[in-house]
Symmetry: C2
Subunit: 398 residues, 2 copies
């Protein structure tokens, strides 16, 4: 067996519930205002699943919105039950008392994106006719995800976000927040992300989609209530997963180690540990994720180009008021340091703190390098808090 504790996505089991936000509850916000989408489509009503951690202060100035990546959801931290075997939220190491997003100080919100499959309206949700949207769901973009989140902030009475933070696709949403609502965002935390999907980014996403289309159970998306295209989604996940890891981390973790064998069997059964790991990732993923959502979210990623419609990224960002923390990782070959630097270079004369972290775990480093991230993200937020929100800051400006 692969030691499942070694899986970066499962590392969190090592951490003690004592240092957690504890039991949390997924909440559903229902919006009956239409959501006009970039594609020209409209959702007449929609829901967003969300969770919150910590306490909103009286001035409503300490809220941080965390945006999730392709396969994430609103359950960023804590547990739903007392079951000691339950896995915590996907970034539990990051959100809690004295963690990088310190819930003693901040009110943290995370919502499932529009188009998602974990409680927000998406292709698996019922359309007005009562049947699932399936591929009738309108195409959504990063800006649409952000617009839906803006409705959620309005409903929570939060006019101004202390920070919008995210890794990977979450970073795209954070950046888009600062562009679409410049007066509502104090800081953007842009982690292992890109302001623009590259041809290689699109290519990997397209392969995942082709794997789903190729599954005869996909049935042009009309599989709800029938057999789901799990084989295609599993292949898509495996393709995605390999882009989240580095050559080094795969080599360190598995190398050419055999899986439950003393010697090569010279057969088409699982021989190498890395094969078993990939299959396990695929099988696990299909249990919790909707294949059509995978199609929609990867399209949203592909469409993302923050400079679109402008002569340059700098021009596109000219009206942005937020401060920026940008972090890239040396072994991240999905969203490379060069892509992160494109953003940094497009913000001349602005308050931008940029860190390039030497890390071995590829794109997943933003989840795995907890200590470094706590220093960088937590330190940044601490300084920003001291400068703007702390009692000392008020006395300074009083």
């Amino acid at each position: 067996m692969v030691d499942r504790l070694e899986d970066p996505r499962e590392l969190s089991l090592r951490f003690n519930r004592a240092n957690s936000v504890g039991i949390v509850r997924k909440q559903i916000a229902q919006f009956d205002t239409p959501l006009q989408l970039v594609s020209g489509g409209t959702l007449d009503s929609f829901t967003l699943a969300y969770e919150t951690y910590g306490t909103l202060n009286e001035d409503r100035t300490n809220a941080i919105l965390i945006c999730h990546a392709l396969s994430g959801d609103s359950h960023v931290a804590g547990y739903y039950t007392d079951d000691p075997t339950e896995q915590p939220g996907w970034w539990d190491e990051a959100i809690g008392p004295n963690k990088m997003f310190d819930t003693n100080r901040f009110f943290v919100i995370c919502s499932n994106v529009i188009g998602g499959c974990q409680g927000s309206t998406g292709p698996s949700s019922p359309a007005p006719d009562g049947r699932p949207y399936a591929m009738r769901f309108p195409v959504v973009t990063i800006a649409d995800m952000v617009q839906a989140q803006r409705h959620l902030m309005d409903s929570l009475g939060i006019d101004y976000l202390f920070a919008v933070a995210g890794g990977s696709m979450g970073g795209m949403q954070a950046l888009q927040w600062s562009m679409d609502y410049p007066d509502r965002v104090r800081s953007v935390l842009f982690l292992a992300a890109t302001p623009r999907s590259s041809a290689q980014n699109i290519a990997f996403n397209e392969i995942g989609r082709q794997a789903i289309y190729a599954d005869p159970n996909w049935q042009n998306g009309d599989y709800y209530g029938k057999l789901r295209p799990t084989s295609g989604l599993a292949v898509a996940r495996m393709v995605g997963h390999i882009t989240y890891m580095s050559e080094y981390s795969l080599e360190e973790k598995f190398g050419r180690r055999l899986q439950a064998l003393d010697r090569l069997s010279y057969s088409f059964s699982t021989e190498f540990a890395v094969e078993s790991y990939l299959r396990h990732q695929g099988e696990k993923f299909v249990q919790r994720f909707d294949p059509n959502t995978y199609l929609y979210i990867t399209k949203a990623l592909d469409y993302y180009d923050a400079s679109s419609g402008h002569p340059s990224l700098t021009a596109a960002l000219s009206h942005v008021k937020a401060e920026f923390l940008v972090i890239s990782f040396s072994s991240d070959w999905l969203y490379t340091a060069a892509q992160a630097r494109d953003l940094v270079h497009a913000l001349p004369g602005r308050s931008v703190e940029y860190h390039h972290v030497e890390a071995f775990f590829g794109h997943d480093s933003f989840l795995v390098e907890v200590e470094t991230m706590t220093d960088l993200v937590g330190g940044y937020l601490d300084r920003l808090y001291e400068r703007t929100l702390s009692p000392r800051a008020s006395s300074l400006t009083a």
Copy 2:
């Protein structure tokens, strides 16, 4: 439309037939001696498809064996017909008069590997019971491919190879020749290859296999005479293809360019040129390649570790007598420079010429960088020829 001439695999159309080896003929060698395989299996008889170019000299000392990569075949150069639209062999730029493998001087041989689907015995060939082997075909390794080629050399009366050359999987075979038949190889040309498949190499191959297994037409390999698992094979090819290119070459070639559209359509049709390119690669490949062969050959790649059974690669190579030319490419992230250097470092005190080429086209650079490769490979072979085979060399040693 994507400009098909820009495809590195189709670049050769630019080259003129005048500078070609001309019309060639695929030949089939039948062997009725059993081939004992590393897996423990046996092929009681087998065929190899092969082609030759140039003329074998009287001493039978000027033969060069070219070994092909995963998707290659024996048709390395020239044309089968007079049809002016016919594509030449897969490395036509490399083999011919005054080319890197100069047919004025050398007798060049290329054979389809055992397990292949282009004339050599493989899973699509009839088993002794008359039905296709399908998955009853024994698992083959790089060493088995080389052993089969050795039978071919015997049948051609060639005891000693001036060079064994190959890129990618072809390089693995070239190295293996020098290990298994040290007295029959003067030089190894190891291009864009690795002495050992890494965890990441195995992972990409496994994803391709999973895509084929997931295709219901695969039917555990028993699809001959029925619908073939072309959807699965197309996805496998797309996964493979992306590893042959660099992020840079995808970006330069396609970037975010749209395919036959003025603006985004916000639909699941082909929008980006890079998507169209990948689909085209998949569709083209399934017309010429057997899915089961894809499974077998990727397994042979995964098994490859030249150091296997030895305390180190140096120890494994201790009895090798050949000289080496090793070439790696800066943007090759499939078989990295570090992997090539593992071989170079395992040959201390030996005649090894190593070049690391700064090139943009990723793994495909070995096919695309014709001018550089002609200098390096042609230059190396010229010097080796002058030193060993030329009339001047004979007079020096006479």
